[in-house]
C-alpha cells in the first residue's frame, strides 16, 4: 500500500517529462487560435533546421486578456510568447512588461517584414506617449478584423443595417444579440452617437475612439439605454449558435467570429452575412509578443517569425477562420477567389496593384470601410467609469427598491431566529424551575 502510494507520487511529480527550460518554449494563446497539427507541431522541426537546436513546445490557452495579464504582472509567470489584444499590448508597453523581439535570425529570412504596412502604421499608434518606442520592435501582428453586424438576410435586409441605430429598431426586438465586450460596443456606439459631428468634420473617428471622456461615455450610455429593451441578450460565445439556429437575426460581433458562424451555418443550409455600418467601426488586432519574464527569447523570436511565413499564415487562416496581418503575393493569390463576384479595393493592405480583388469582404473589407474604422485603445483611467456604465446598461445593478426589499427580508429572518431562540430559552428556564419545584 505504501509502496504504491510513493511510486504514484514520484511518477506524478516527475511528469511532464520536461526538457530543460532552455530548450522549452512556452506559448500562451487564445483557444482554437492556431492550426495545431500543421503549424504548431511542425515548429520544433523547422527550428532544428534553422538553428540546429531542439525545442519542446508547451502550449496553453487562456480565456480573456486580463487573466493572462494578471498571471504575468502579479504571478511573474515565465511564458515565452503570448498573443494579447491590441489594448493589452498598449498597456504592457506602458508598464514595461514586454521584451523586444530579436530579429537577428541569421540565415533565416525575416518574414515579419511581410506584415502589411497598414497594420504596422496602426500599431505605431499604440506607442506610449513620449517614449519613442517603435511598436513593431515589440510585437508582430497575428490576426485582425472589424466589428459589425452578423445578420440573417431572410429576416433582416442589409439596408436596415446601414446604421448602428438598428440596435434600437423595434422591428428586431428580441432578436438582437450583442457581444458582452464593453470596449468594442463603446467604440462603435460612440461613432453612432457622434455621427452628425463626424459628418460635419468637428471630430475624427480616431479621436472619438482613442480618447474617452465622461461626456462621450454619457452619450453612449444614452444610446445603449434606449436599445436595452430591444436587445435579447449580451453574449460572449453563444450568439453564433443562436444565429446558426435562426433564433437570433442580428449579432453585433467581430468579423472573425462572424466568418466562423457563416461557415457553420452554411453546413446546415442557413445563410448568414456580415456588414459594417456606414458610421464606421473599429479595427482590432491580436499580436504576438514576448513578456518580460520569458526565458527562451530566442525560440520565441523564431516562433513569431515562423508564424509570419505566408504558408503558415494561410494554414492558420483556414483553420481558425480569422484573417492574418501578413500581406504577401501568396496571400493575395489565396484571397483572390474567382467565385466571388464583387471586388474590393485592397490597396491599403496588399499594395497598389490590389485595387480589384475578388475577396471575401468579411475578411478583407474594402478600402471604403477601412477608412471609416478606428483603432481601439486601452481605456486606462477611464476603465472604472466604462465598467460602471456597462453594468448600468446591462442592468446588473440593484435599484433601491430591490435593496430595501432584500434588507427587510434579511432583517425579518434575523428577528425570527432571535425570537425563536429567546422563546426556547424561556421554555428551558421554565422547565428547570418546574424541576426544581418538584425536587423540593
Amino acid at each position: 500500500m505504501k509502496r504504491i502510494f510513493y511510486s504514484l507520487l514520484a511518477l506524478c511529480l516527475a511528469l511532464p517529462a520536461l526538457a530543460d527550460r532552455a530548450h522549452t518554449l512556452k506559448v500562451y494563446n487564445w483557444a482554437d487560435y492556431i492550426d495545431m497539427d500543421n503549424v504548431l507541431d511542425k515548429f520544433p522541426e523547422w527550428y532544428k533546421e534553422q538553428t540546429g537546436e531542439e525545442v519542446q513546445v508547451i502550449y496553453q490557452t487562456f480565456d480573456i486578456n486580463e487573466s493572462m495579464l494578471t498571471e504575468i504582472e502579479v504571478g511573474h509567470e515565465d511564458y515565452d510568447v503570448i498573443c494579447p489584444s491590441e489594448y493589452i499590448i498598449e498597456r504592457m508597453l506602458r508598464q514595461g512588461l514586454l521584451l523586444p523581439i530579436n530579429k537577428d535570425f541569421g540565415g533565416t529570412p525575416d518574414y515579419t517584414r511581410l506584415v502589411a504596412p497598414f497594420v504596422q502604421d496602426k500599431f505605431q499608434q499604440m506607442s506610449p506617449e513620449g517614449s519613442g518606442i517603435n511598436v513593431s520592435d515589440y510585437t508582430v501582428g497575428y490576426m485582425w478584423g472589424t466589428t459589425g453586424w452578423l445578420y440573417n438576410p431572410e429576416h433582416v435586409q442589409a439596408s436596415d443595417l446601414r446604421s448602428w441605430g438598428a440596435i434600437s429598431d423595434p422591428k428586431f426586438k428580441g432578436h438582437i444579440f450583442v457581444k458582452d465586450a464593453f470596449r468594442d460596443v463603446y467604440s462603435v456606439m460612440v461613432l453612432y452617437a457622434y455621427r452628425d459631428e463626424i459628418a460635419r468634420g468637428e471630430v475624427t473617428r480616431d479621436e472619438l475612439v482613442a480618447h474617452i471622456t465622461p461626456e462621450r461615455i454619457e452619450r453612449v450610455e444614452q444610446v445603449l439605454m434606449k436599445a436595452k429593451d430591444n436587445v435579447a441578450g449580451w453574449e460572449v460565445d453563444f450568439g453564433k449558435e443562436e444565429m446558426t439556429k435562426g433564433k437570433a437575426w442580428m449579432n453585433l460581433s467581430w468579423s472573425g467570429d462572424a466568418q466562423w458562424a457563416i461557415d457553420e451555418a452554411e453546413e446546415i443550409g442557413v445563410t448568414l452575412e456580415y456588414i459594417v455600418p456606414e458610421e464606421g467601426s473599429n479595427v482590432w488586432f491580436d499580436g504576438w509578443c514576448i513578456p518580460k519574464y520569458a526565458q527562451n527569447t530566442k525560440a520565441a523570436s523564431y516562433f513569431i517569425n515562423y508564424l509570419c511565413m505566408p504558408q503558415n499564415a494561410i494554414l492558420n487562416m483556414e483553420e481558425i477562420g480569422y484573417v492574418s496581418v501578413i500581406a504577401s503575393p501568396e496571400i493575395l493569390e489565396w484571397a483572390d477567389d474567382d467565385e466571388i463576384e464583387t471586388t474590393a479595393d485592397l490597396s491599403y493592405f496588399f499594395g497598389e496593384e490590389a485595387t480589384e480583388v475578388h475577396a471575401n469582404q468579411v475578411l478583407y473589407p474594402d478600402l471604403g470601410v477601412i477608412k471609416r474604422c478606428a483603432l481601439m485603445h486601452d481605456c486606462g483611467d477611464r476603465t472604472t467609469d466604462m465598467l460602471a456604465m456597462w453594468n448600468r446598461v446591462k442592468g446588473d445593478n440593484l435599484n433601491s427598491t430591490m435593496m430595501i426589499l432584500v434588507i427587510v427580508i434579511v432583517l425579518a429572518i434575523v428577528i425570527f431566529v432571535v425570537v425563536r431562540a429567546a422563546g426556547k430559552r424561556r421554555q428551558r428556564n421554565q422547565q428547570n424551575r418546574k424541576r426544581q419545584n418538584y425536587k423540593k
Binding site: L8, K26, A31, T61
Partner: protein, 287 residues
C-alpha cells in the same frame, strides 16, 4: 353519512397530496437530469454547434477514443487528454493526502479539551465556507510571495487545503460514536500505539475515511476557481480549466459531449452497484 363524507374528504386529500408530491418529484428530476440527457442525446450527432442534429452517428465516440477525426483529418485536441489525465491524477493524490491528513486531524481534535475543540472545529469549517475564488487567489498570492513556482505541486497542495476539512467532518461522527475504551483496551492487551492505530482505530473509522475520500475526489474533480489560479505556466490543465478556455471561441469541442456522457454513465453504474451492495448487506444483517 358524516363518516362517509369525512372518509371521502380524507381520500381526496390523500390522492391530491400524492399527485402533488409525485408531480413535484418528477419536476425536480426533470430539471436535474434534462441537461445531462440533452448532452447524452447530442453526443450521438456530429454537429459543431450544440443543438443542431445532423444525423445519428457514433462518430464523436470514435473521435474521442482514437484521438483522431478521420472525416476532417484533424487530431482531437491532445490537451483534452492531458487535462483528463491530470484531473484524475490530481484528484487521486489530493484525496489520498487529505484523507490521511483529515483522519489524523479528526483524531487529534477528538482528544482536545472542550473549549479548544470548539475553536479548532470552527477553524476547520472556514475553508469550507470560503468561496473558491478567495481560496484560489489567496493561495496564488501566497505562492508568489514565497517564490514557489506554480505547477502540479501547488495544485495538489491547494486541493488538499480545501478537501481536508470535509474529511475531518466525515470522520468525526465515527469517532464520537466509537466506544472510547477500545483504544485503551488494545494498549492494555499489549499493542503499541502504532499497532493500536492501525488495527483498531482505522478499521473503526474506515467508513468515515472512505466517504471522506470519495468526497475529496468529487470536490477535486469539480474544482475550478482554485485550480485556475494555481496551475501555473507549465502546460498543466484540468478538465475544468480546459473547458473554460475552450468555451471561449467556437463553442465547446464536440468531443466533450461523449466524454460527459461516459463520465455520467460510469458514476451512475458505480452508484447502482454500491446501492445494490448495501441493500444486500442490509438484507443479510436483517436476517
Amino acid at each position: 353519512m358524516n363518516n362517509n363524507a369525512v372518509k371521502n374528504n380524507i381520500e381526496r386529500r390523500d390522492l391530491l397530496s400524492r399527485v402533488a408530491g409525485q408531480t413535484y418529484l418528477w419536476l425536480l428530476l426533470v430539471v436535474l437530469y434534462a441537461p445531462i440527457l440533452l448532452i447524452i442525446i447530442f453526443s450521438f450527432t456530429k454537429s459543431k454547434v450544440f443543438g443542431n442534429w445532423t444525423g445519428f452517428t457514433f462518430g464523436l465516440y470514435e473521435n474521442l477514443l482514437t484521438g483522431y477525426d478521420t472525416a476532417s483529418q484533424v487530431r482531437v485536441d491532445p490537451n483534452l487528454y492531458r487535462a483528463m489525465f491530470y484531473t484524475a491524477v490530481i484528484a487521486v493524490i489530493a484525496a489520498l493526502l487529505s484523507t490521511l491528513l483529515g483522519t489524523l486531524a479528526a483524531i487529534g481534535i477528538y482528544n482536545l479539551r472542550q473549549r479548544t475543540r470548539r475553536a479548532v472545529t470552527f477553524l476547520n469549517s472556514v475553508p469550507m465556507i470560503n468561496p473558491d475564488i478567495i481560496t484560489g487567489i489567496s493561495l496564488f498570492l501566497l505562492f508568489v510571495f514565497l517564490g514557489i513556482s506554480r505547477g502540479l505541486l501547488t495544485v495538489v497542495i491547494a486541493h488538499v487545503v480545501f478537501c481536508t476539512p470535509y474529511v475531518v467532518l466525515s470522520v468525526m461522527p465515527r469517532l464520537t460514536k466509537m466506544n472510547p475504551n477500545i483504544y485503551e483496551a488494545a494498549l492494555d492487551l499489549g499493542a503499541t500505539p502504532a499497532q493500536a492505530l492501525r488495527k483498531v482505530l482505522v478499521p473503526e473509522l474506515w467508513p468515515g475515511m472512505v466517504s471522506g475520500f470519495i468526497l475529496s475526489l468529487t470536490l477535486s474533480i469539480d474544482d475550478f476557481g482554485v485550480t485556475f489560479f494555481t496551475k501555473g505556466s507549465n502546460g498543466l490543465e484540468t478538465l475544468s480549466t480546459f473547458i473554460y478556455a475552450d468555451a471561449r471561441k467556437g463553442g465547446l469541442t464536440p468531443e466533450l459531449r461523449p466524454l460527459f456522457s461516459l463520465i455520467f454513465l460510469t458514476i451512475l453504474v458505480l452508484l447502482v452497484i454500491m446501492n445494490i451492495r448495501s441493500m444486500r448487506q442490509a438484507k443479510k444483517a436483517g436476517r
